[in-house]
Amino acid sequence: MHELGIMESAVDAALREARAHQASRIHRMVLRIGTLSGVEPDSLRFAFDVVTEGTAAAGAQLEVESVPARAWCAACAQEFGVESGFIYVCPHCGRLSGEVRQGHEMELSRLEMS
């Protein structure tokens, strides 16, 4: 439901960056999106076409890199991968964890331009 807003923010940032580099065209954008961010990659791709239309990023290639979720178990002092959903159980000791170390990312991570 927030994909359009996220994509507007991404394209704004990319266009600013391109301007700062005196580039007139964006060829490729890479976003890093955590699996817990609630953002749907497919909806992002759809929003990309809408948002880039008529800008220096029109026709650019969009890559959405998925960042897997990882939580931290304080008792075991180690990280573990989180499959999905909202309940994070440490596979080593069975304790519940409330500390997500990775998986909420939403960022513009790479830009190719000329």
Partner: protein, 267 residues
């Protein structure tokens, strides 16, 4: 380069200061987070028309997130703690706030911003000589957003206020996605709703700093299993603080008030 995003407040929503209105409304918001966003974009002048690649780490924020950060900075700057109270309709948010204003609000100055789709009923219930209250009617929007809160807060005289309660629109889904700039998100679950709600509506419970299990005075009459509810809350929000209370019998209210005191030691 200062990429201030264009932000237009929601036109639909209306603000009604009910008590303690600001003498003159003014722009009170702190510097935008947008500066931080732009700071990550280090400009590097170079020529060449060849394709260049840059690696970045620009966080992608929506307008609401940016406004929420402004609110947060503003609250921090004023030394007040903001709590966002979220629950399904009728879980007892207003009743708890009424009692809180009466029992706690006389020693520690509190203000309330309360959101509903329609009517100022809750605002009128909360009106007290000693507490500024503003009612926001969202005109159909099922949650408060950061711009509505900013406008609600601007309409109030916050002189001396240490705690700001934001009563969200009764809704267990959408408010989860809208940061208001609060320091503490309080999610209420009342015994009338059933023990399984945390499992059915996990995002809101996952985002809670504090979960209040309310109306415990009628738990037994309803056959509501408190221990099951507590276990379900724990599974979704293992690190959130949990308080069981009844605004009617008063059970647990002291614990809630102690919690409020602990947020704000420099009373």
């Amino acid at each position: 380069m200062n990429p201030t995003p264009e932000i237009t407040p929601a036109d639909e929503c209306q603000i009604h200061p009910l008590s303690g209105a600001a003498a003159r409304p003014g722009r009170l918001l702190s510097a935008p987070l947008a500066a931080e966003v732009s700071a990550t974009l280090a400009a590097g002048p170079d020529g060449g028309a060849a394709v260049r690649a840059v690696d970045l780490r620009v966080p992608l924020l929506e307008k609401n997130d940016i406004l929420a950060e402004r609110n947060r900075g503003y609250f921090l700057g004023r030394g007040l703690v903001a709590l966002n109270l979220v629950s399904s309709p009728g879980s007892g948010k207003t009743t708890l706030l009424e009692r809180t204003l009466d029992e706690f609000g006389r020693q520690t100055k509190c203000a309330v911003v309360v959101g509903d789709l329609e009517t100022d009923n809750d605002g009128l219930r909360l009106r007290r000589a000693h507490a500024p209250v503003a009612q926001i009617t969202t005109g159909g929007t099922c949650h408060l957003d950061a711009s509505m809160v900013a406008r609600g807060v601007e309409s109030l005289d916050l002189e001396g206020v240490k705690i700001l309660f934001i009563e969200n629109v009764g809704n267990l889904v959408c408010p989860a996605s809208f940061d208001l700039g609060e320091q503490v998100r309080v999610v209420l679950l009342s015994c009338t709703e059933g023990e399984d709600k945390p499992l059915k509506y996990p995002p809101i419970f996952k985002s809670a700093n504090l979960v209040l299990l309310t109306k415990v005075d009628i738990a037994d009459a309803l056959g509501f299993k408190r221990d099951v509810a507590v276990e379900n809350i724990r599974r979704i929000a293992p690190t959130a603080r949990l308080i069981q209370l009844s605004s009617r019998s008063g059970e647990g209210v002291a614990e809630w008030l102690d919690y409020l005191r602990s947020l704000n030691p420099q009373r």
